[in-house]
Amino acid sequence: MSDFEETIRRLQSEKGVVGIIVVDSAGRVIHSTIDSDATQSHTAFLQQLCEKTKTSIRELDSSNDLTFLRLRTKKNEIMIAPDKDHVIMVIKDLS
């Protein structure tokens, strides 16, 4: 198992984690622990959200940058860690 797979596996074993998606800066999936359709629908929405948020943060202050994004919903929590080359999205179930 590669270092990458080991890290994914460790993250996946954290309490409540139901999905991990890693995309590159073009929105292409590098890795996903959920099925293709779910990956597609989540990626489309989260990628857009992330880009829009990043842009707006820089518009408000050109020296500032987005480092983390957390969406809390009734059923789950979605954590988005954007980096220069990739974005990691983790979905944690709250039940």
């Binding site: 590669s2 270092d3 990458f4 797979e5 890290t7 460790r10 993250l11 954290e14 309490k15 409540g16 984690v17 890693v22 590159d24 073009a26 929105g27 292409r28 999936v29 590098i30 890795h31 480092t67 983390f68 957390r70 809390r72 009734k74 059923k75 954590m79 860690a81 980096d83 220069k84 080359d85 990739h86 990691i88 983790v90 944690k92 709250l94 039940s95």
Partner: protein
């Protein structure tokens, strides 16, 4: 409903594999995972008990 879709060819399995071996990628990837790990391990749930319906959590 119209939606602008940018057609980007997906990464090939080989491209994905090579990327996950790249030290620079792994470096920032691991860094992001540490932040996420901390967030996942937070003990206090800031939203708990603050819904209108006390049983909403069970229903959801």
């Amino acid at each position: 409903k119209t939606q602008t879709v940018q057609i980007v060819p997906p990464l090939s399995d080989e491209e994905k594999y090579r990327l996950t071996l790249d030290p620079e990628f792994l470096d920032s990837f691991n860094r992001s995972c540490k932040v996420i790990s901390r967030a996942l391990n937070e003990e206090i749930d800031i939203c708990i008990n603050y819904t209108k319906d006390p049983y909403e959590k069970a229903i959801a």
